[in-house]
C-alpha cells in the first residue's frame, strides 16, 4: 500500500480524456477519476463504476434531468461567484477495492498526521474511546472499524456504496424520502452524482452501543464532493452520530454539496452532531470550500426525536439548514448551532422546523459569531401546519460581533396555521465587550485567551449538547479559527 493512492494519477486521466466514447457510454470503469464536466454519460459512468443496480442508475438520471431544469438559489445572504459546473470533476477514487486499506493501519500516515495536527487522533480515538470510525476521503470509504461489535447489536454502519450492494432494499425504501431528488438545486445535483457517504440502520429497540463517527476530508484537486448519508432509526431505537470535517490548505474553490437524510420511527431518537472545519480561504478571501448542504430529518413516528448540533467554523461559504419534519404526534425537533465566520467567510445557516403532527415541539438555539469581515446570517423557518394542534417552538438566536467590519443578520420566518400553537422568538446581538475583554486582561489573562474564553462562554448552550470529546475539539477549533481576530 503506498501513500500515492489518494493523489490523482494524471497519466490515467489523460488516457481517459483521450479515449473515445463508445455507444455513448464510458466503459473504462477502472479509471480513477472522470474528466471535468457533467452530462448523462457522466452519471451513468459513476453508477457503473460503483456497480449499482439499474433502479439506482435510473434514479440518478431522473435527478440529473430535474437538475437541468433548476437554478442555483440566490436568496441567501451570500456573495457567490458563479460556479462552472462543467469545470468540476464528479468522481475520484482509489485505484481498486483491493488496493484500498483494509484497516486504519493501512491508511496514509500523512492523513493520520493531519488528523493529529487538528487534535483528532483518529486511531487513538478508535481504540481508546471505542468509537466506530468510517473515515471517508475522496469519495470512498477507507477504514471501518468496530463493525463486528455493531453487528452483534444488529446495527448496520457502512459506506453508502456497501449499503447499496448489501442492503439494497433498505436503501431503496428510504433513499430520497426525506430529501426528494428535486428538493433543491444542490440536492438534485447530489442525487445525480453522489459518490459515497455513510449508511446507518438501527433496528427496533436497539440503543446503539457506541457513538458513530465519520471523518470527512476533501483531498484530490478540483474534485467536488457529493456525499450521501442515510440514517434510519427503527421504533424505540437510539443513535448518536458524529460527523467531523477537516481539509488541508488549498487554493481553488471547491464545491461540496452533501445530502443527509434521517428517518426516526416511533419513539426513536437520532442525535446528529457536526464539527465542520473545511478550508475557509486565506486572509484575503482567496480559495476555500463552498459548502452547500441539505440536511433533513423526518420524525415519522410518534414521540420520535431528532436533534441537530453543529459547530461550523470552516468553509468560504456555508449554505446549510439542518431541518426537522415533525410528522409523528408529540415528536421533537432540536437545532443547536454555533457558526463562526472570520476574514472573508460567509455563512447563511439556520434550520427549518416543520410541525405537522399534534403536540410537536421544537427548539432552536443559534449562536453566530462574526469576526474580521465575516458575514453571518441566521435564517430559520418555523412552520406550523393546520394539523399541528398545540405545537410549540422556542427560538433563541444570538449574534456576537468581534471587530467593526463584520456583520450579523437574522431572518426568522414564522408561519402559523393553527391557533393553538405557541411560537417564541428571542434574538440578541452584542459586540464582544471591550469591558469584558479589559476585565480579563486586568486579571492577567492574555487577549487571545480572553477572546476564546468569552466566545466559549457565549457558545456554552450549544457545546454542552456535543459529546464530551467532540466539545473539547469544537472549543479548540474556535480558538484556532479566531486567531488574530482581535487586536
Amino acid at each position: 500500500m503506498n501513500s500515492d493512492q489518494i493523489t490523482v494519477d494524471t497519466s490515467s486521466v489523460d488516457r481517459f480524456v483521450q479515449q473515445k466514447y463508445k455507444h455513448g457510454f464510458v466503459t473504462d470503469i477502472e479509471s480513477e477519476t472522470v474528466p471535468p464536466g457533467l452530462n448523462e454519460e457522466t452519471v451513468r459512468w459513476i453508477s457503473a463504476r460503483k456497480g449499482e443496480p439499474e433502479w439506482l442508475t435510473e434514479w440518478r438520471l431522473q435527478a440529473y434531468r430535474n437538475w437541468l431544469t433548476m437554478q442555483a438559489p440566490d436568496w441567501a445572504h451570500l456573495k457567490i461567484e458563479p460556479i462552472d459546473f462543467q469545470a468540476i470533476s464528479y468522481f475520484s477514487a482509489p485505484k481498486s477495492d483491493k488496493d484500498r486499506p483494509q484497516s486504519l493501519d493501512e491508511v496514509d500516515p500523512k492523513l493520520l498526521e493531519t488528523y493529529d495536527k487538528l487534535g483528532v487522533p483518529l486511531h487513538e480515538r478508535a481504540r481508546l474511546a471505542g468509537v466506530a470510525v468510517d473515515a471517508v476521503f475522496d469519495s470512498v470509504s477507507v477504514g471501518t472499524t468496530f463493525r463486528e461489535e455493531l453487528k452483534k447489536a444488529g446495527v448496520i454502519f457502512c459506506s453508502f456504496s456497501e449499503a447499496v450492494r448489501d442492503y439494497p432494499e433498505l436503501v431503496r425504501q428510504h433513499l430520497g424520502t426525506v430529501v426528494p431528488p428535486r428538493d433543491n438545486f444542490f440536492a438534485a445535483l447530489n442525487s445525480a452524482v453522489f459518490s459515497d457517504g455513510s449508511f446507518v440502520y438501527i433496528p427496533r429497540g436497539v440503543r446503539c452501543p457506541m457513538e458513530l463517527s465519520t471523518y470527512f476530508r476533501i483531498n484530490a484537486a478540483e474534485t467536488g464532493q457529493f456525499e450521501r448519508t442515510l440514517i434510519i432509526a427503527e421504533d424505540k431505537s437510539y443513535v448518536s452520530y458524529l460527523e467531523g470535517c477537516t481539509a488541508p490548505m488549498r487554493d481553488e474553490n471547491q464545491l461540496h454539496a452533501a445530502v443527509v437524510e434521517l428517518v426516526a420511527l416511533e419513539d426513536a431518537e437520532i442525535k446528529y452532531s457536526t464539527v465542520q472545519n473545511w478550508y475557509p480561504g486565506d486572509e484575503e478571501g482567496k480559495g476555500g470550500i463552498y459548502n452547500f448542504v441539505t440536511k433533513r430529518g423526518m420524525c415519522r413516528g410518534d414521540r420520535s426525536k431528532i436533534s441537530w448540533t453543529q459547530v461550523e467554523t470552516g468553509s468560504a461559504i456555508t449554505w446549510k439548514y439542518p431541518s426537522c419534519v415533525l410528522r409523528g404526534e408529540r415528536s421533537v425537533g432540536e437545532f443547536y448551532s454555533v457558526a463562526l465566520t472570520n476574514n472573508f467567510q460567509q455563512a447563511d445557516t439556520g434550520t427549518k422546523m416543520i410541525h405537522i403532527g399534534r403536540d410537536t415541539r421544537s427548539k432552536i438555539i443559534s449562536k453566530g459569531i462574526s469576526a474580521g469581515r465575516g458575514q453571518n446570517a441566521y435564517r430559520g423557518l418555523v412552520r406550523v401546519a393546520k394539523t399541528a394542534k398545540n405545537a410549540r417552538n422556542f427560538t433563541q438566536c444570538d449574534s456576537m460581533l468581534i471587530g467593526k467590519r463584520c456583520g450579523a443578520h437574522t431572518f426568522p420566518y414564522i408561519e402559523v396555521g393553527n391557533p393553538t400553537a405557541k411560537v417564541e422568538h428571542e434574538a440578541t446581538t452584542s459586540r464582544i465587550g471591550e469591558d469584558q475583554l479589559f476585565y480579563c486582561l486586568q486579571r492577567g489573562i492574555s487577549e487571545e485567551d480572553a477572546v476564546s474564553m468569552i466566545v466559549d462562554g457565549f457558545c456554552k448552550q450549544v457545546f454542552r449538547e456535543l459529546p464530551m470529546e467532540f466539545a473539547v475539539e469544537a472549543k479548540a477549533l474556535l480558538e484556532v479559527s479566531l486567531e488574530g481576530a482581535v487586536g
Binding site: 476585565y439 486579571r443 462562554g457
Partner: protein, 272 residues
C-alpha cells in the same frame, strides 16, 4: 530598597479627547493604605483605569512609576501579572464562563508569568477554600458564570475574593463600598484588612467616609479638578463628611496649598 510602590508625577490623561486628569501627583509606599475621595465625575475611576492600562485612556503628559519601573510601557495583562489589581466599580458579567474556571485561569496566567507551575483544579480548590469562607462566598456563586445574576453585594465580595486569591502587590479598590449594606460592608472591609501587609499597598477609592471607619487609611487624598486637591491623614475624611466637597471649589487653593505643604496632613488641611 526603595519602599515606593507607586509614584505618579504630573499625570495628565484624557478620554475621548476630554482632559480628565490635570497634573496629578501621588506616592504610595508598600504597607500603606491610601484613600482617594472626591465628587462624582472628578476622575477617580479614570485614575484607576490609567494605572490598570485600560484602552482609550490616553496619557498626555506625566509619569507613572511602579516599583521603579515605567508602568505606562506595560500591556494591561502584564501590569496585572506584575501585581496590580483593580477591584472594579462595576464588575463585568461574562455569560457562560464559570466563575471558578475564570479565577483559576487568571491565577495560572499570573503564575506562568512569574515562572511558577500552574495549579490543577484540586490544588486550586484547596487554595481558595479558606478564602471563600472569610468572604462568605457560597459554592453556588463559584459555579455560576462570572458575575452573571450576582447581586450588587455578591459582585463586590467576588472582587475582593479574587484579590485574596491573586495576592497583588498594589490593589486599587474602586468604590467597592457603594451599594453595600452595613453587614456586607463589614465583610468586605474584613476581607480587605486581612490582606493588609508590609509588602502590599492599597488605594481605596470611595465616595463616602463610611468605608474608612472599617478600613482605616494611612493617607487620604481628595481628587478635584483633575488633581489631588488636598491630602491628609484619616481625619481629612471626617472633615469631608461634615463639610462636603464644596469648600474645595471656594477656598480650594488655600486648602490645597495648606495640605500640600503641610507635612502634618489633616491638621494643616483642616486649619485652612
Amino acid at each position: 530598597m526603595d519602599k515606593a510602590m507607586l509614584k505618579v508625577r504630573n499625570l495628565h490623561a484624557s478620554v475621548e479627547g476630554k482632559q480628565i486628569l490635570n497634573g496629578l501627583d501621588l506616592e504610595v509606599n508598600a504597607g500603606e493604605v491610601h484613600a482617594i475621595m472626591g465628587p462624582n465625575g472628578s476622575g477617580k475611576s479614570t485614575l484607576a483605569s490609567v494605572i490598570a492600562g485600560r484602552e482609550g485612556y490616553e496619557v498626555t503628559d506625566g509619569q507613572v512609576l511602579y516599583r521603579g519601573r515605567d508602568l505606562l510601557e506595560l500591556e494591561p495583562e502584564e501590569r496585572a501579572c506584575e501585581g496590580i489589581f483593580l477591584a472594579f466599580q462595576y464588575p463585568v458579567e461574562i455569560p457562560g464562563v464559570n466563575n471558578t474556571y475564570f479565577l483559576r485561569a487568571a491565577l495560572n496566567a499570573q503564575r506562568k508569568y512569574r515562572g511558577e507551575p500552574e495549579l490543577d483544579s484540586m490544588q486550586f480548590l484547596k487554595l481558595i477554600r479558606g478564602k471563600l469562607e472569610i468572604l462568605h462566598i457560597s459554592d453556588d456563586l463559584m459555579h455560576r458564570a462570572v458575575n452573571e445574576g450576582f447581586s450588587g453585594g455578591e459582585k463586590k465580595r467576588n472582587e475582593i475574593f479574587q484579590m485574596a486569591v491573586l495576592e497583588p502587590a498594589l490593589a486599587i479598590l474602586d468604590e467597592t463600598d457603594s451599594g453595600l449594606d452595613i453587614d456586607a460592608l463589614k465583610l468586605v472591609a474584613e476581607g480587605v484588612n486581612r490582606q493588609r501587609s508590609p509588602d502590599r499597598a492599597m488605594i481605596v477609592v470611595t465616595h463616602y467616609q463610611r468605608l474608612l471607619e472599617y478600613i482605616v487609611p494611612d493617607r487620604v487624598h481628595v481628587l478635584s479638578g483633575g488633581r489631588i486637591a488636598a491630602s491628609g491623614d484619616a481625619d481629612l475624611a471626617l472633615k469631608l463628611e461634615e463639610e462636603g466637597y464644596s469648600w474645595l471649589a471656594e477656598g480650594g487653593i488655600q486648602a490645597l496649598e495648606g495640605a500640600e505643604t503641610g507635612s502634618g496632613g489633616a491638621g494643616a488641611a483642616a486649619g485652612a
